[in-house]
Symmetry: C2
Subunit: 240 residues, 2 copies
């Protein structure tokens, strides 16, 4: 694919731009310390992430209506708190924990890489995270997005094609003028099927020490980059 | 209204943040010079702005479906070109002129004022401009928005209440946690009716030398500010 006419780059967020697992573990640990609640926080984080995916799958299959990811997080959090026998939380405490996903931190390359890419392209997240979550995360982590292309705008969860095509339509562009960047091969496969250009950044530690998937590209992508700064370099933006 | 819990400030854009008339006149004049087309460009700009408002009114009345402002601009531009006997344009030339609205310049206080406000609040346009128009305008004029809250997201034109309430819902906030800032009293009246906080910046030259409306506040707003930097100051952000 000729990459000379790319105008917009959208990014998977959880795992590609921000370290959701490390951030959630640090956030919950600090919160637990502050109110004297002890738990195996890495296991809580893994269980929480594991719980909400099946609910999104039910949206993908049309079994339940689309909802904000904040709501799926809250449903899953209730289950996880029960499972780990954490009880007696006030409504404000529950909300505070549920919004840990609004306080995720970028990977070390996130701010510098995105800042470089922003000089030449319109950049935004294309994430199953809802708008409020992604806006608050950007403020917290300093992510310099031009716009938040949350899947909430398209009322479908990735990898539904309307999410990728929705960005192109909204920006008055052909699909090939939009690039999807992700650390997940299945996200890129769906974007490529929709006609978008693709950039893969191999994951390594998103899921912690047990990670076995997405360690490398499983098919041919337009760009494979070591990190976001390398992506900028491969797209012709030299060191700032 | 207590303004201590404001989290998000949204801004009317055409006239409040950017100088649409001056920008359109300069853009069309430069384009005309480059291809040898002469016209009374200030009159063309006024006619163009005058032409698309009635079409948005038909959307407001439910007579025609919602569409991107780019489309309304294009319909109006066809009429205006006929009226001013400008003919023989290629499709690319027509598109270039129609996208003059993507290349508007900020008022002198826009970038500095928004940059200050961004340190404390989530900021974004709430404009009848469509997402692509507002994203491209922000890149062109250097407007540091956190997110584009285009009316396109809510499928209604301002001053429909769903546009103001849509921002609050999307950000998980109560209406009173959102402030609308505009140089137009009617925009603020609708925002106030929807429960938002309001900030008025008196207009003076938006419509050129013939301006007679919105020179001052016509009712009580939460803040009346001289410009965006004064708004920042009144909201507790001292000079950076």
């Amino acid at each position: 694919m000729n990459l000379g006419h790319i105008k917009v780059i959208v990014f998977d967020t959880f795992g590609t731009v921000v370290d959701w697992r490390g951030s959630i573990v640090r956030d919950l640990t600090a919160w637990g310390d502050s109110c004297g609640i002890k738990a195996d926080w890495p296991k809580v984080a893994d269980a929480w992430r594991g719980e909400y995916e099946p609910e999104m799958d039910r949206v993908r299959k049309g079994q339940i209506p689309f909802a904000k990811l904040d709501e799926f997080h809250a449903h899953a959090l209730e289950d996880v708190l029960n499972k780990f026998k954490i009880s007696g939380l006030t409504k404000a405490q529950f909300e505070h924990i549920n919004c840990a996903w609004h306080r995720l931190e970028g990977w070390p390359d996130a701010v510098s890489g995105l800042t470089r890419l922003k000089t030449k392209f319109v950049i935004g997240p294309l994430s199953n995270g809802n708008v409020a979550l992604l806006v608050n995360m950007a403020k917290h982590a300093g992510l310099p997005w031009d716009n938040i292309f949350s899947c909430e705008l398209f009322r479908h969860c990735k990898p539904h094609p309307d999410t990728y095509l929705g960005v192109a339509r909204m920006m008055n562009l052909a699909p090939a003028e939009v690039m999807m960047c992700a650390a997940h091969n299945n996200d890129l496969a769906a974007a490529q099927n929709a006609g978008l250009a693709t950039a893969f950044i191999p994951g390594a530690t998103e899921f912690g020490p047990r990670q076995t998937t997405d360690l490398g590209a499983t098919q041919k992508w337009d760009i494979i980059a070591a990190d976001l700064n390398d992506l900028a370099l491969q797209l012709g933006i030299s060191q700032m």
